[in-house]
Symmetry: D2
Subunit: 340 residues, 4 copies
């Protein structure tokens, strides 16, 4: 491929705007040539114009049909992801798709089959893999210098609960929130999850129970390489976005601390106060969003392997379904029990 | 009681010597008047003399019978703890007993009944409650200023695996090692454990499997107050004694870092290096051992409640038995299933 | 002023490119309409095109004469700053000027007089004021909650020495490097420096002595508000860019730590290793460069006061000249001795 | 020497009690056989009895004359130190003397001559050399792995100002407080100070000025090995005892953080709070006091060199006198100007 990678952006919601802005400002090897959003409005058009996106449409088909699109960024609502993948693949476009591909495994498999058949590239938006601290942890593990992984731990908490309208349709804490952590443990351990066991509670807001959901959950995991692990999630951490990972290995442990708003601290007769963790994912994973896009663009332009594959999109969904089953049935669930 | 608290020390092994030295050097309100150890040897006698213990005997009965003993410190082998409690109680002596009281719940109950009948005080040696950092965490939770506890987390790892001779008789990772953490979660949460679910693996040394034990374990917990929790243990953390706790509450989280050998750090073109965590429990909980003894002595002298009760000795054993059952049966186990 | 602030960029060296890119990518309220560089070459033109700068010229006069320029960014060589300020002021353009304005105080005064006469705005590029950690320190001091400042400390070290060609013309450690710290102590203390006393040494590279310069220096300071302070500089800190400030006040102290490359750390039997400080000013002050530009643009568009004034450009030069005099004469030097 | 080192303790004020208690409780190779204090009272006698000191006297001569004394600990008022050294040396006793030996250099020289003539050992009580963090910093420098020292920095602040009665007779901030830091920079750098330049201010309490003293001071230093350095002191740091050192070397920097009261920290929506530094020298240097005594006892028993010599007692006094002269005369002062 010569010249810039030409991108069709599907969706101009929060995440679509984030990717669009990043591509236009920070990824000189790519450019957004068209934006499609069925709810396209003047604000979206003004935003598109302000960052130099030349075309806007309400019809996603315009993107798939365009000669000026080499790749698509699927940032539309979750239920459309799989279908858009299938259409993009049929049109021979490379695909960056926000997570999750779908919450229905057979639909994911259908999409992955279409990608395979078309021979296009598909990268899934597990952005945390591109965070500099998490990546540093993983690189130490992957280097092998600490020996075999023994215990993989992820602590992941949002600053506050989402609106109940969102909870209603989110698919629940495992599919919506912990899915990132299911990806993270695979990334950190370099191994597949074979069994999960869930514990959960409704502590933040009783309305989570109305939707059959929990707001606080701990899931233990077994890995194919023999390691074990644990993830804890909570929908409410008023001090900010709590994102810490650790891998205890044979010869030592590697972990990371939260990123803070700044490095100042004040010491008085009463206390020592420092800055809080960065507020939420936009603040914490700001750089990582750019990095994942650069990685996708480079993989396409250089015809290399994408760093987060279709299988990486599928497995966390399977683990999330297993975790939900474990919670409902009050027993450990093997991944074998879940459609693959 | 007037004057110093006169203590009969039962056992001059590692932990007995530790307590004896602490009492003589750091607890001016108490003095050891007699040491009993069935394996009494010249080294032990020399040690006793060096710190001013005036009498030594091979016969524990001499301690129970002595008019110069107000309280006993039971630092003998675990299998003798319950019987020594019963004898001390019958003799009207107050009792400090190393953990665990026994691994058989009915035996513990028998000992507690004897204590109750005699009206003496019994404090169990869960020393970590007296660590300044863990105590600071608990004090924040207990103050209520962070609201209700949501998630209780304990990470506890030994620097290296014990000798296999010890593993053979230790009762396994839950009764020997994680029992401290079962105490810790009760202490931190201010609530009782109602259910546990265990995951374990043999990763450090395959010989653990020979004894039906695991060397790495994660246990999730449910508490009566609605909170959930998780403990992770590993027999091998080559970087030192890893002892971290956290309680996520409604309004924030409180946690602690490891204590380091020193606060120096070196920055070069290659790396930034700081000191490691303190090596093991003698280094980390050195001050805490003194504090627990002072607390016991004060409780006796002032006729106040001891800070770690007989029930505090019983419950962690019940939780450990439940955790072992969970591991064996591959399912969550309610504490109700375990003899109370 | 309606619409975007139209900026003429003077100089396309490292710092010019940095500002140009920042304006085009991160400051939607502004746009670069023309670039002037006497050494304009195809690479610069390509860079300008890639970020959407429509016009390039070798002649700075084109910028001053342009109707499409509301403000200039002076990023040319130091010796041109004052003259460009005078010309821009005469043309009624607002001015952002990189530091230092000049190393000759009368020339600075001439430039400031021109600015005053023209009634345009002038902001000087002391970028560290916009660093989130330093700013947090200063905000605590300025809030008054710690009471009066007692001691102001700045530690500032470059990762490695600059090329000797640069040392030859840089003006020396005080005018080239410590000048940032002279600005910082004024910013942190909210007070003027009244006296300095310098100590210096040639430790990094003996060739510094060939140019009458030192490569390591410590300067103590007295402030008009009674506080005292100290700055230490070294041209070589192989572990990265060391940038730490502290203000001890009546009721406590406020300080900051370095920013690290990431927050991961590895603990082994040998050591605990964490990430190093960010490498140099581009890494550390990346965000601050954007913030200072946004602040300038906002000040012009809203006709508000600029956050770093002409006086803020003048005073650090006077302090640097005093510090150099102190080093040469081996005595404390009062600022009164230096032309104002 | 066979058996325990028998120590005569001179002075039962705060520091005398500290050393006496440490020897009796933590230094099994030594024992205090006699206490002398001209102001001996029943409380002191009770204290002596409680830790097993068999003899008490008001007359220091009883100590020098005793056959049961191998070494003396001089913990009396500063003005008596030199005379007691001379008397102890004449009596053939080894000597541990609290700092400073005297504030009059000829008196120090007289004492050191007496020690030399008698061939006894003399260790001066610069306790901070035995702090585990400062020692770790020094050990890195001394190892040579970071190359030559460039900059030596010490920050040392007391939590609060002493009573004015003490200020009146203390000899001033340089002889009373910064003298520890003058010792520290010699210890850290492994080199002699050749020149100092002082800056000071009265900021904490105006009454310091009444005694010709300052309460806040910064002293820059030059070392024989070419390094330069800076010490900052303040009589008031309400957040606790601030004790930080750093040595920037050719290949990196080594520094230490304060020791904290505990390692817990609380994160809320408002702030992140951690524990404060340890309160004052008794808390911070608690372990170091024991270590210095063990080192002295070992040096005597094994006839090895003491770790803090008579010269180490003399030089900081010379530096302090030079620093005071620099402050008074407003100019750098070479150590050559001070009697040696």
């Amino acid at each position: 491929m010569s010249g810039k990678l030409r991108i069709g952006l599907l969706g101009a919601g929060r995440i679509g705007k984030l990717h669009g802005t990043n591509i236009q400002n920070f990824v000189p090897e790519a450019e957004v040539t068209i934006l499609a959003d069925p709810f396209l409005n003047p604000d979206m058009e003004a935003w598109a114009a302000s960052i130099g996106i030349p075309n806007c449409t309400k019809n996603p088909e315009d993107v798939f049909a365009s000669d000026e699109v080499d790749a698509v960024f699927i940032c539309s609502s979750t239920d459309t992801h799989a279908d858009f993948i299938i259409k993009a693949a049929a049109a021979g476009k490379h695909i960056f798709c926000e997570k999750p591909i779908h919450t229905d495994i057979s639909k994911i498999n259908e999409a992955l089959a279409a990608v395979k058949k078309a021979g296009v590239k598909l990268q899934v938006g597990f952005v945390r893999r591109f965070d500099r601290s998490h990546k540093a942890v993983r690189d130490v593990v992957a280097s092998g210098k600490l020996g075999k992984p023994f215990v993989v731990k992820v602590c992941s908490r949002d600053p506050g609960a989402p609106p109940m309208e969102y909870v209603k349709v989110s698919g629940g804490i495992f599919l919506d929130m912990m899915i990132h952590d299911f990806d993270m443990v695979r990334y950190l351990s370099g191994s597949e999850v074979t069994e999960v066991c869930s514990t959960g509670a409704v502590l933040v807001d009783p309305r989570f129970a109305d939707y059959g959901d929990v707001d606080t959950a701990i899931v233990t995991l077994k890995f194919a390489n023999g390691a074990i692990g644990v993830i804890d999630n909570c929908r409410q951490a008023p001090y900010g976005y709590d994102q810490r990972v650790e891998v205890l290995c044979e010869k030592g442990t590697v972990q990371d601390n939260n990123h803070l708003e700044n490095e100042a601290f004040v010491s008085t007769a009463e206390t020592v106060e420092s800055a809080k963790p960065t507020y939420f994912f936009l603040e914490r994973y700001n750089d990582a969003f750019v990095s994942e896009t650069k990685a996708f663009v480079a993989a396409v332009l250089e015809d290399a392997e994408v760093p987060v594959t279709g299988k990486d999109g599928l497995e966390p969904v399977r683990i999330a379904i297993a975790a939900l089953k474990s919670l409902k049935e009050g027993r450990p669930v093997k991944l074998d029990e879940i459609e693959g």
